[in-house]
Symmetry: C2
Amino acid sequence: MDKRRITINDIAEHSGVSRSTVSLVLQGHPRIPQATGDKVRRSMAELGYTYNRAAANLRRQTSQAIGLIVNDLRNPFFAELTSAIQARVENEGYFVYLVESGEDLDRQERLLQSLVEHGVAGLVVCPATATPGDAFDRQLAAGIPLCLAVRPHPDQRIDYAGSDNYGGALMATRHLVEAGHRRIAFLGGQQENPVRVDRLAGYFSALQGGGIPFDPALVTDSRPTLHSGADDLKTVLALAQPPTALLCYNDYVAIGVMHALRCNGLVPGEDIAVVGFDGMPETAVTFPPLSTVELHGQAVGERAAELLLARIADPSRSPARHVEQATLIARSSSAPQRTTAPGDGDRTGLPKRR
Amino acid sequence: MDKRRITINDIAEHSGVSRSTVSLVLQGHPRIPQATGDKVRRSMAELGYTYNRAAANLRRQTSQAIGLIVNDLRNPFFAELTSAIQARVENEGYFVYLVESGEDLDRQERLLQSLVEHGVAGLVVCPATATPGDAFDRQLAAGIPLCLAVRPHPDQRIDYAGSDNYGGALMATRHLVEAGHRRIAFLGGQQENPVRVDRLAGYFSALQGGGIPFDPALVTDSRPTLHSGADDLKTVLALAQPPTALLCYNDYVAIGVMHALRCNGLVPGEDIAVVGFDGMPETAVTFPPLSTVELHGQAVGERAAELLLARIADPSRSPARHVEQATLIARSSSAPQRTTAPGDGDRTGLPKRR
DNA sequence: CTGAAAGCGCTTACAG
DNA sequence: CTGAAAGCGCTTACAG
C-alpha cells in the first residue's frame, strides 16, 4: 500500500507539464490539444491517480453531498423514499449522506448541525414527530438549501414534498362508509405526528359526510409498529359497540392488526373490515389481500429530490409545496359486509366470533 | 443569506487572537486558558460560525465518510443492515454515503470508483451477484479499507461479515425432513448469487443426511421478488410428484408463494409446508405465521461496521471473516403434516386440493 | 500560552 | 496553448 496518494503534482512531473495543465485535462477543457491530453492521461493511468474531489470542492466552494434525515429506515416507506432520492440526485452527480433520527428531536438537531459541518450542498429531512416550528431557523439563516419531505411542517418558507394524507384518509373512510359501516375505528400512529393529524382530519370529514357521529373511543394512538396494533385492537374490541371496520395508521399497523384479529378468532375482511395506509408492496399478498392507500413513496422521493436540486440552483426561488395524490387500492380485507340473515341481530354492529 | 461563510479568520479577527488559537480552542486543546476559550467561543456564537470539516479533513488527511454499497434498499434485510451500519459507525464519528448497485456490475464499479474519489475512509460493500473475483483489486492496491458484507466473495484478502446461509438451510431442511417431508422444493433466488449457492448446499446436505434423493426438478431460480414465487410454484406444482414442502430463497419469495398457494386453492401450513429465509419481522404476523431462518441482519451490519473500523485503525491486520449463526424460527407455516386417515393415499405426497 | 508560516490537493484568473 | 501564483478553510510543527 502506497503511503502517499498520487496527486496532480505527481502527474504534472511525470508527464512534464504544469499542474494547471493537468487540472485542465481533468476537466476536459477544450483548448487542451489531443496530444497533451493523451500524454497526461497516460501518466494518470500509469501512476494510478485518483481524483480528490474533496480538495476540488474546497477550492471551488461546492459540494456533491446531499444530507438525508429519515425517521426509520426499517419502515419500508422510508426505504422506498430513500432509494428514490438516492437514484434521483445521483443523476446530477450527488451522493447522499443517510442518517436516521429515530424520531428523536435532540438527535435530529445534532444530525442537522453535523451534516452542515460536513459541507452538504443541501438537505432533505423528514421531520421527527413534534419538531418545533423554528427547528430549521439556523439552516435557513445560513442559507443551506433545504427540502422537507413526508411530514408536513408549519414553516412555510421551506420547500416540501409529501403525500395527500387528508385525501387518502377521506377516500378510505368513504369507501368503508359506502360499504355500510357506521362504526369505523382509527387505529395507531403517534398523536403529535402531523401525518396522523391529516389522516385523522380526512377520517373526520368522511364520517361527517356520511352523517356518522364521531366517537372518540374509536380512535387510538400508539407508536406504529407491527405489534402495537394488538393493543389498539383490544381497546376498541372491548367497547360496548365495537367497530365493524378499522382504518389503520399505516400498513405495518394494519398487518399487525390482521394478525391480532385472527388471534381473537376474527377473520379480517369477513368479520371486520381492515384498511391500511402507505401502499407497501406486501399488502398485495397478505391473506386476505389488504386494502390500502397508495402514497407513491417513490414519486414523493423524486419530487423532494427535484425540489432540493431546484433550490440549490436558485436559492431565492419562492418556496414550493408538492402534495402527491393518493390512490385507494380496495382489496378483499375491506370487502362489503356479508349480507346477514334477517333478524340475526347484526345491526348492533357486533362482530361475530367464530 | 450571507454570501460568504464565516471562517476561522473571521473569528480570529473578531476575538483578537490568531487563527492557530482559534483552531486550538476548536479542538479543545488543554493548554488554552479558560478566558481565551470563552472569548473565542463567544465570537463564534456571535458570528454564527460553522466548522468546515472538509477543509480540516483535507489538511489532516482524514475522512469521516464511510461508503456503503447495497444491492437493494427496498429489501428489508438490506434496510436493516444499512440501519445497523449507520448507527454503529456514527458512534465513531463517521457518516455513511449510501448507494445502491441494483445488482448491476458496471454500476457497482462506477460507484466504487466514485466513492473513492469522494474520499471515503473506507467501504463496506454487498457485492452484486456475479461480481468477479478481481473486482476489488484496484481498491486493495490503493490501500482503501474494505469490508464485504452479506454476500460471500472469493477474494480472501478482504474482511467479510455475513450469515451462516449453509447452516441455516441445513437446519430448515432438516426441520422439514423430520416432519416427514420427502419432496422438498427449493424456490427462487438467482443462480449465480453466492448466498443462494450456500443455501442450496445446506439443502443438499440435509437431503443427503435424510437419505432423500436429490431431484433437480424441485429447484427453481428467479429474481427474488414478491411475485416471482408464483411462477416458481407453478413449475413445481405441475410435476408428476409435486413437493409437500417449500424452502424459499427468502421471506419475500415465501410470502409471495403463500399467496400463490392460496390462489391455487392450497392452504400453506396445512396442505403444504413453507419456510422462508432472512427473519423479516413481518413473518411473525403473516397468516399463517411463516417459519423462517433468522439471519440477524442487525448483528451482521454491526460486525461489518466493526471490521471496517478495525481495518481503518490497522490496515495491515490479517483479514477476518465473521459468519453470524442463523436461527430457525419454526412457526405454523411448517407445522407437521396433518395426520391423515389410513388409506387415503396421502403417502404419494400429493397435496390435497380444497 | 500564542503567532507566523507552510501545506493538504485542487482550481482559476492572469501573463506570456 | 501553458505556467506561476494565489487561495479554498483548516491544522500543525516551530518559534518566541
